[in-house]
Amino acid sequence: MTILESEAGPATARQIGRERIAAIVQSYGAAIVLVILLVFGSIAFPTFLSVSNFTNIATQSSFLMIIAVGMTFVILTGGIDLSVGSVYALGGVLAAYGSAWGLFGAFALPLVVCGLIGVLQGALVAYGKMAPFIVTLAGLLGVRGLVLAVTDGGSATPLIADRAVVFLGQGDVLGLRLPVFFALAAVVIGSILLSRSRGGQAVLAVGGSESAATLMGLPVARVTFTVYVISGLCAGLAGTLNAAYSSSGVPTVGVGLELSAISAVVIGGTLLSGGRGNLIGTLAGVLLLTVIQNLINQVGSLTSSVQAVVSGTFLAIVVIIQTVLSRTQRL
């Protein structure tokens, strides 16, 4: 059956090469924009290119990064988790309360509770077949209420006295704060899970086509359920580390954090409809957001309104560039 030979024209090799470059550009659009921004910052501001500034950026990004890891998993299934900001606050507050029982309490209490919130939301989405947007929107509201409820209407700020807990938030190794290592670990573990485990492949398949995944015999509901649990745990962990970092569980933190996390994930090249994306992109997305903020601070004289205009415009430009870079892959 040699009817059809591959008589590919001479353009083939070049074409393949170009396709490959295009694929790289498409997957790492955010990282490329990040590099551009870093170069720009270094040229424009003498105080930008410094070790202390970069370690600051690393620390500042780490909490959002951990949340964004969970968010990436959720978005890859085609879902969304709006509750992360509130869960983050709850995690912090509970970590502070839990630190009365030392390191174990400071981690176990928030992780168990935030994990349970993930379980509840995941169950409603996966088994209750409710729209994730609404479930987690209710989560955003309800969990914030819970935070207020456990802090006496928000008037109490529990403090962390335990040295070991505080060390996990503030201690530094090689000039980097410990939360940075947690964030890196989250990225690495998350990446391996996503690209090298059956579960991760299932996440991509569910997001790529839920009906196909079902018909191919994947446990769609279980996969969907799990990502919300992961997201709850990630947000809880980020809250815990943040509380350790600032040695207090402040009930008002994390407002609007869900939008930062979602935009970081999307800027990182993950499709909101699910099925495609990676954590390296998300990492670049988180760093982009932090660097934009850092650059605004480098100017150092903008009022908050101007800052809003600048960061909104920046965001728009970044997503436009990123979209254009990765457009060829869209149908």
Partner: protein, 336 residues
Amino acid sequence: LTGCTNTGTSGSGSTGGSTDTAQTAQAASGPTCDLATYGGEKLDLKNAVVGFSQSEKEDNPFRIAETQSIKDEAAKIGVKKLITTNAQSTLSKQISDIQDMISQGAQALIVAPLNSDGLEPALSAAKAKKIPVITIDRKLSSGACDTYVSFLGSNFVEQGKRAADQLIKGTSGKGNIAILLGSSGNGVTTDRTKGFVDEIAAKGPDLKIVAQQTGDFARDKGQSVTEQLLQSNPDISVIYAENDEMGLGAQAAIIAAGKTPGKDIQIYSIDGTKNAVEQIVAGAYNGVIESNPRFGPLAFKTLQSFESGDKVGQDIIIEDSEYDPSNAKDKVDSAF
């Protein structure tokens, strides 16, 4: 579906442009702080880089006046560079802002903390570089002269208490009160509520608090909450709003309900914005406790004397005036 933000603390609207009335400190007393104790070198602010970290958006008169007064004073003294940042009500951003300013070479910091706790990483970074930090308008719960030099600001509990006193006087101690709370979880809300409620309990036996609902420091929320409350609770006779904006929203609601603000239903609030004080003059508002935002001169004066080696007070509580029908007309120009 609201109540999950945290915007605008002491803010409200104004028509802008007023005769600035800088703050005056109450008679100094209590512990002090100096370079020797805190650590660090003498410094002339004239050639220094100073950083100012604002906590909330400059979208309300209080924050606008506060930032402006810092900027004006910096210009007046002629500091080499003033870096300003705005945390936009996000605690982690305030930490980042302060760290960013430190790595940009700030030699002294003025911080309007978003929260009494949680700034520790930023403050310890400053401490490590022996950079003096003056906090304004909200007191930190960590140790003065250790994590920061001194605190300049109002006493929010006291403001609530004074509002209660004003209200008791204005209502002759009788009536049903509805409280419009600030944003939940905001320390200012907590303090202004505590001062007020305790004072009413102590001195107003015939005053009854019938509702406490959050108006998120926003005018529209204050208005709609008041509308709801007046509807179901027609015997409400006085409103205590934890900032002027909500008070003005309540005023609109009272008018919409066909009643006369200031007479049928009295309104008391805290802040001292021009809009509210003008309403007192017009007889449609009953009292305002001031919360003076013009920290610039006092903050730089404190910083300057600290940097030249003098002792400065750890707690510098400022004098807030108050407006009532008897003085509003004369003092309206000092409102912000």
